[in-house]
Subunit: 420 residues, 2 copies
């Protein structure tokens, strides 16, 4: 049996322990929802205040040049590239994940329409993040394509001569199950299809190697594991072999080859810059950069591979503690046990009361979450940058107490309202 | 001849004078570029710091509900509605102007395709803001429509049985010339076309009455006259008679009828909410709200009509001072003299040296700007919220000195580089 002393010993030995000091976490809170919104980097308040008071307040319009605002999508993109296995100049930070998905899926469908017009099917998972499916549904309607939704095990068999694009989220937001990016990409390419990856639940959380996998397109989120702040801009990557081939339809001024020439005709910039559209929210971009800098600070300590090892140790520990200490309370495990198939979260299942149990834990200061689409799931994200092994012990202990006391049956935990 | 004493007297009588105290302006700067980036509202640094430290840092994911993040697009939209003649619940603050233009132009073309498929032409002005033309160019390619660019005086004659959509910017960014929104909308409707208005250079600067004009669609910018901060989110308005008719193709989760139900199928929200797409940058939205609150503070002082009167008095004064005091230096006037045709800026023309003269003025602390697309234009924005009559005197006086001294011919003012 694992003990609290064991967990403390793991913290004492943790080479990444110091990274926790890069973040502000509220007193008395165990935060297991970094997969919804990452916490505040300690550097952010001062950096944002400087952007507000000096760059905006004093520099005014001059700051587009003097404060480097104009280079932010690329500068931040290069930092993101280092955590997703992309090269410099291949990523831009911009817009929202949904908008970026629209851009890359449009471009992918345009490529297929030119190269293999008989391919008219977009494949995805039924349990993909809904906004991805909504964007694909809209685009398929417009392009006369079919969106076909599958269970994960059906994907390999469904790839065929009619497949235009396979669009997947690398780590499933509900279950924490992870696709083998290299193998899936290989299978899709063998079938003649392009692959679009959504890294919302993997960038910054697991090892991602877009170049190594030979992927075609990717998008991801700035405010989850990248800790960029509420609604932080997202990112987009296109493999250089495709980046210059097509316009994406959101052809705004910032994606123009000569954005300050003010010519009436659009001429897309070379490379990933053509995936920019309109002016970006500089203050939110500034916050995002603070989140990204934490990953740069992690590089001398082993970077993403070291973070991944710790993440797996944290989720292994949580699974073990729940099984040892919460047995007999009807909990199941939705997240795969196999490391290669697991993201950075643990999803427990329970036939009854998942929502109320999550609420009772939040009242105790253990913040996990619940997603309405799968009402039987309790979701806990374990972020190796700032979650420690003792936190995992305490989270499991609170869960045990909530289940043993039955306090989750209280009416205050059973009022459903909008949750994000 | 107008004197400095006259200008000081105008300031002393100005009922809107107190509004200047709502903004931080750098010491020694006369800021005539609020039409590119509005200045910092005094309330913003503290409000943004609270959003960073308390809402994000302490509230974390809970702030989506407890800090009202989720209602921001509508809450800010309702504030914007009051300055553009729209009703509550008709506007959302979201995304960039370019992305929003894509949404409304898509919806407009879908409507025309359903109602009058023979109409395949989108009309616009050749000197429209380039990003608007780029978005229209991309969409027209995709929908098989033709984008036809005209001079302003050609518009009325070009409206016809083939016109699908007339897309115009209300106030021209280069010249400050303003369209008669009601008359143009009437003419377009009489010809059976829909009208999309870009309010980037008019929202917050001139009286806009979308409902009164019976307009169909509008978009606009948050960081110019609305003073929302660098790259602040933009806004979108759709007349309620159209809002429920069509999907716009950026069908993300935030525009879903039940965004937290996590259903795999998209079902657009009723009304303007369906023009939302992905998660919005909360920190930049927070800054935008501070900018909007300045307009609420102006309401008891006469609101937009009073601001408009002052704006015209400021631009009248600048034109008069330039003509009285800078005569013989080769300056012309690109902005219409007639009030009904003038926005809130004055554009001067000069065959030679426009760029260098603007640079020499900036070196003296008078910030106007220059746009590469029309290299003969010096542009000065006059924002009645914080620009005073003595500022206008001083700006004209600096301009006179720059021209008389010939200092603009110095090499330091003649190095062209990227300007925004």
């Amino acid at each position: 049996m694992t003990t609290l002393a064991d967990c403390r010993a793991l913290d004492a030995q943790d080479p990444l322990r110091a990274l926790r000091e890069l973040f502000t976490l509220p007193e008395g809170i165990i935060y297991l929802d970094g997969n919804s919104l990452g916490p505040l980097p300690k550097a952010a308040p001062e950096r944002i205040a400087r952007a507000v008071r000096e760059e905006w307040g004093q520099g005014l319009i001059r700051s587009w040049n003097s404060a480097g605002w104009f280079e932010m999508p690329q500068r931040l993109g290069d930092k993101i590239a280092r955590v997703i296995g992309a090269g410099p100049g291949e990523v831009v930070a911009t817009d929202s994940t949904s908008v970026n998905l629209f851009k890359v899926l449009s471009a992918a469908l345009s490529m297929v329409a030119a190269d293999a017009p008989a391919r008219r099917v977009v494949l995805s998972e039924r349990s993909n993040f809904p906004t991805d499916l909504y964007i694909a549904e809209g685009l398929c309607r417009e392009r006369g394509c079919e969106l076909r939704l599958l269970e994960p095990h059906e994907i390999a068999g469904a790839l065929g001569a009619d497949t235009a694009v396979l669009m997947l989220t690398h780590v499933n937001y509900r279950t924490g199950a992870m696709h083998d990016m290299a193998a899936v990409t290989r299978a899709a390419h063998a079938a003649g299809a392009l692959v679009v990856w959504d890294l919302a639940h993997s960038a910054g959380a697991v090892e991602v190697d877009l170049r190594g996998a030979g992927a075609d397109f990717a998008v991801g989120c700035g405010y989850k594991y990248l800790n960029g702040g509420p609604g932080a801009p997202a990112f987009v990557w296109v493999h250089p072999r495709h980046a210059d081939r097509f316009w994406q339809p959101l052809s705004g001024w910032w994606g123009h080859a000569a954005p300050f020439a003010f010519t009436p005709d659009y001429r897309p910039a070379p490379g990933i810059a053509r995936y920019l559209c309109g002016t970006q929210p500089v203050l939110s971009m500034t916050a995002l950069e603070c989140g990204l800098d934490a990953f740069l600070a992690a590089e001398p300590l082993g970077g993403i591979p070291a973070l991944r090892r710790k993440s797996l140790a944290l989720t292994d520990l949580f699974i073990a503690l729940v099984e040892e200490r919460c047995a007999g309370h009807g909990l199941g495990l939705a997240t795969p046990r196999e490391h290669a198939l697991r993201g950075s979260q643990v999803c427990l299942t329970r036939e009854e009361g998942a929502y109320a149990i999550v609420q009772a834990l939040i009242a105790r200061g253990v913040i996990g979450d619940f997603r309405a689409g799968r009402p039987d799931i309790l979701r806990f994200g374990f972020t190796p940058l700032y979650v420690g092994f003792e936190d995992v012990w305490n989270a499991a202990e609170h869960l045990r107490q909530v289940l043993e006391s039955g306090e989750w049956r209280g009416p205050e935990f059973n009022r459903q309202h909008a949750v994000t």
